[in-house]
């Protein structure tokens, strides 16, 4: 490159600044913009696409979507434990059922007793 002995740094600066002011700027194509927007994180939209149900879930369970399945699993486990604790085949439950059945039979017999006398 040829050094210009007459040029000062300020002149060089102004010359180059003038160059850049005359260059046409480049803009991104709409396709590139769309591609970049598509590649961005998209967990949810803050637009009006959030439904009432989603708002309710968000209010009831504000820990994010990752915890929702865990919550469902925990509730299911608790329900299972409760069912296990009230097993209809457990001895206590069978005894209660026997007592109830006996009482029903006695009541039936008492009621039917009068009706049988009428028939005879």
């Amino acid at each position: 490159m040829v050094d210009n002995p007459n040029s000062s740094d300020q002149e060089d600066f102004e010359f180059v600044q003038n160059l850049f002011e005359q260059i046409k700027p480049e803009f991104a194509s709409p396709e590139l913009k769309a591609e970049i927007l598509r590649s961005a994180p998209s967990a949810k939209s803050t637009n009006a696409t959030v439904t009432g149900l989603e708002e309710l879930i968000e209010y009831l369970w504000p820990f994010g979507p990752l915890w929702r399945p865990a919550a469902g699993l925990a509730i299911a486990a608790m329900f299972g434990v409760m069912l296990g604790a009230t097993d209809p085949l457990s001895p206590n439950t069978v005894a209660d059922a026997d007592t109830a059945l006996t009482e029903e039979i006695v009541a039936f017999v008492e009621a039917a007793d009068g009706q049988l006398e009428d028939i005879q």
Binding site: D9, E26, A28, K33
Partner: protein
């Protein structure tokens, strides 16, 4: 438009991380054109510049979790773009000035458009002839309007080195385009 600050950028990035599509659109609108413009000036190729811009934004999305509100996002994007451009230039064969495409036919105000295109083509060709680091510094300073300190941070060199690159780059451009000076100054 309000000038973005590191804090406002960090708020915007948090929304982008949460999947806020509107925040993502604002961020892309703010910076994408600048990155493409910088890449085009560095690489001399619009398609390659778009590839680089896409890669820079992909890296930004991947780094959202680690973002700290210390620097403006544009400086981070410019540094990534600069590094990507330098990587590509190292792999690329030297550009011949005769390989540069002819400008398209102008539509409106033909004389002015043609003049602007001719000037743009000549200037772009001259910029491409500069050594890579001189070109990077010149584009940061004169196109992006960065200070020498900001340019030094992005290029990860000293301020004195930036001043030296700028001085040699300006002198080189002036030497390359001396013949076009009357046209560049509008005496056509």
């Amino acid at each position: 438009m309000i000038n973005p600050t590191p804090k406002s950028d960090a708020i915007l990035l948090r929304k982008v991380k949460d999947g806020d599509s509107e925040a993502t659109r604002i961020l892309v609108d703010q910076y994408l054109d600048r990155i493409v413009n910088y890449g085009t000036r560095m690489l001399g190729d619009r398609a390659e510049a778009e590839d680089v811009a896409q890669e820079a934004f992909l890296r930004l999305w991947r780094n959202l979790d680690k973002w700290r509100a210390e620097k403006p996002v544009i400086h981070w994007l410019q540094r990534v773009t600069y590094n990507l451009c330098i990587d590509r230039l190292r792999k690329k064969k030297p550009v011949n000035i005769e390989d540069i495409a002819e400008p398209a036919d102008p539509f409106e105000n033909p004389a002015r458009s043609l003049h602007q295109m001719q000037v743009s083509t000549a200037v772009n060709a001259a910029i491409e002839k500069l050594p890579d680091r001189q070109r990077a510094a010149i584009v940061f300073a004169h196109q992006e309007g960065l200070s020498n300190i900001e340019t030094a941070e992005i290029m990860e060199i000293s301020v004195e080195a930036v001043e030296s690159l700028l001085s040699r780059g300006r002198r080189g451009l002036r030497s390359l385009l001396e013949d076009l000076r009357p046209e560049l100054e509008g005496d056509v």
